[in-house]
Symmetry: C2
Subunit: 350 residues, 2 copies
């Protein structure tokens, strides 16, 4: 029998950051697809939409009126999944029925007053303002004694459950640390205790040497398709310096983050020549008052599309009941993304 | 301040079976939806489709011809994610880049020769034949030394990535135990070691006393919306007797499983008067040669629809980066499902 070849044979890869496995089936990418077709988001939007509850000057569901903002704008989600004033309490029956009250805040962040833009169509200085607002929010929310984790994220595109195409993201900040960053905490702490360096510093070092999965770099950040990527074109944005949260970034590093986000999302749009859907978000240290030297700031991009603008990867049956599974290798995806232009397919910006 | 009320206040619930948490936001179900609309599967299909590669007598991609089967039919997936003859081997660089060859088998099971049926439209004796085939496959695959877990599942509906509406399910059987059953193993073992009874026996006892989340019962099985349900109308089918796998079911219990699956899926179809999409699957003991007295056979149903035939729950941004989140309480969902008829909205069967 021939020897094991990860570009050909089914295998499992270990997610060192989360402590989980993914099943990789490189040979499976050729199967025919007769299933559901996605409808890409319409590319034609007005710069201002009088019916949009996120455009400047318009009113929202609760009756509040948005200011005529000219850069970013943040407010409390009118239908937040979390609320600040929840009575404490819970349920526990034999350890089998367990519930705990949860308190927190849900915020909405408009990235731009322009209804027709998305991050890849904005300038670096404009994206920098988004980064600055994230820092501010992280600091203000994180300083509250009732907030121990601040989750900053964006759902882009209808296929990612986004209900309004106006460029915006969200922040859910809460009392407990959610499961995903909690898993990363465990893995990062164990690594840090053993090696005295963050897990992602050492991982980044390996990836920079190999250059097999690196997509793009600037002075302060590196974008790579992680060795353990689940989604077809999943990427990880890692800061070169081992900082614990965005508030620790220098002004130059904030510019670096804006630059890398812009260049990455332009490549994404250029992959299938559409506004590329994804969920993205920052993972950083819990705001529980501890220092967390084991934490290393990073940003995940989870895009669902697999083969074209209309064929996505479904995380269903086996994936829900067994393990996540992917059909193309992370190395193949990195190669595709690396080969794309950094000039947006629609041409000039703003 | 008022006291904590789980029908009103945001809270987290603990999944005792998997050892994870879900965020429940009861107040959030009223938010308006302007996002993506799903297209329900067409209800009009011929009993035989000459272009379907699962219909009796038709040929498949590889050139093989299906037999003229009159009940069920099973074959090796022509595009399986797993393969039997994979060379062993792997990668390990500093614990950060870790991969292992994985071997296994992917099987496809046609539930019926009729292209136009689905489980809720089949008779109990016809579904019983599906159960019998599951048992056979579990035994044959599970007996192989290179197979330590047998995952039986179904993806139903285009929204669940199903690429052919012909009624069918799949089996992925492999060398390692995937993450989901592995988590359930840990939880069940800890409980069994402490109490000498299976976790699900004790959990079932509580639910049967309360009757708050029970949807339907027969002599051998109970269907309930678990206290920790993630998907809006998620259910758990639990055997009353603490058996470790389907091969241990008596003939009467196999009939019981067929009966409860039929009645549950009829209720699902009647919820929004459409062929209701879901992923479902059995979780049972690993086939590693051990007895696993801690394991308790059960079946998960994960349906994505939330409010109507066209509005689904999206597990995106916060859910991918934080924790799963739901908007209606499991008790509300159980109540809805309990109130539905067990006569299929389309009328008589077969
Ligand atoms: O095997 P199928 O039906 O072609 O594919 C479907 O089920 C598989 C197992 O859950 C998934 O990996 C695929 O993403 C999904 O489209
Ligand atoms: O808050 P939105 O944009 O209305 O809603 C979207 O993002 C949320 C956070 O990921 C999800 O819970 C919702 O399912 C999704 O539709």
């Amino acid at each position: 029998m021939s020897s094991f070849d990860s570009t050909e044979h089914p295998h499992r890869r270990y997610n060192a950051l989360a402590g989980e496995w993914v099943l990789v089936s490189p040979h499976r990418s050729k199967r025919p697809w007769q299933g559901q077709q996605e409808e890409p988001e319409s590319d034609q939007r007005p710069a201002y939409d009088p019916t949009c509850y996120l455009c400047p000057g318009n009113s929202r569901v609760g009756g509040e009126v948005n200011p005529k903002y000219d850069a970013t704008f943040v407010f409390n989600n009118d239908f937040g999944a979390l609320q600040a004033d929840v009575p404490t309490g819970g349920i526990n029956e034999g350890g089998l029925l367990r519930a705990e009250a949860e308190s927190g805040v849900c915020r909405v962040i408009c990235f731009s007053p322009r209804h027709d833009l998305t991050l890849p169509q904005m300038t670096v200085p404009a994206i920098r303002k988004v980064v600055d607002l994230w820092v501010e929010e992280f600091q203000t929310l994180g300083a509250r004694p009732d907030i121990n984790y601040v989750q900053i994220f964006e759902n882009k595109g209808p296929v990612m459950g986004c209900s309004n195409p106006h460029p915006h993201g969200q922040i859910w900040a809460q009392r407990t640390v959610p499961g995903e960053p909690a898993k990363e905490s465990v893995q990062q702490l164990a690594y840090f205790q053993e090696h005295g360096r963050t897990l992602l510093s050492d991982y980044l070092k390996i990836e920079l040497e190999k250059q097999e999965r690196v997509v793009l770099e600037n002075e302060h950040f590196v974008v790579l398709v992680p060795f353990w990527a689940v989604w077809p074109f999943e990427t990880l944005v890692v800061s070169r310096r081992a900082v614990q949260d965005i508030a620790q970034l220098t002004p130059e590093e904030r510019d670096g983050l804006a630059d890398i986000m812009r260049r990455l999302t332009i490549r994404y749009d250029n992959l299938f020549n559409i506004s590329f859907p994804y969920s993205s978000g920052l993972h950083q240290r819990p705001t529980d008052g501890q220092e967390h030297p084991e934490w290393h700031l990073h940003m995940h991009f989870y895009p669902p599309l697999l083969r074209s603008a209309t064929v996505r990867k479904f995380m269903v049956g086996y994936e829900m009941l067994g393990d996540p599974q992917r059909d193309i290798t992370p190395e193949f995806s990195a190669d595709r993304l690396r080969g794309l232009s950094e000039v947006h397919y629609k041409g000039a910006v703003e």
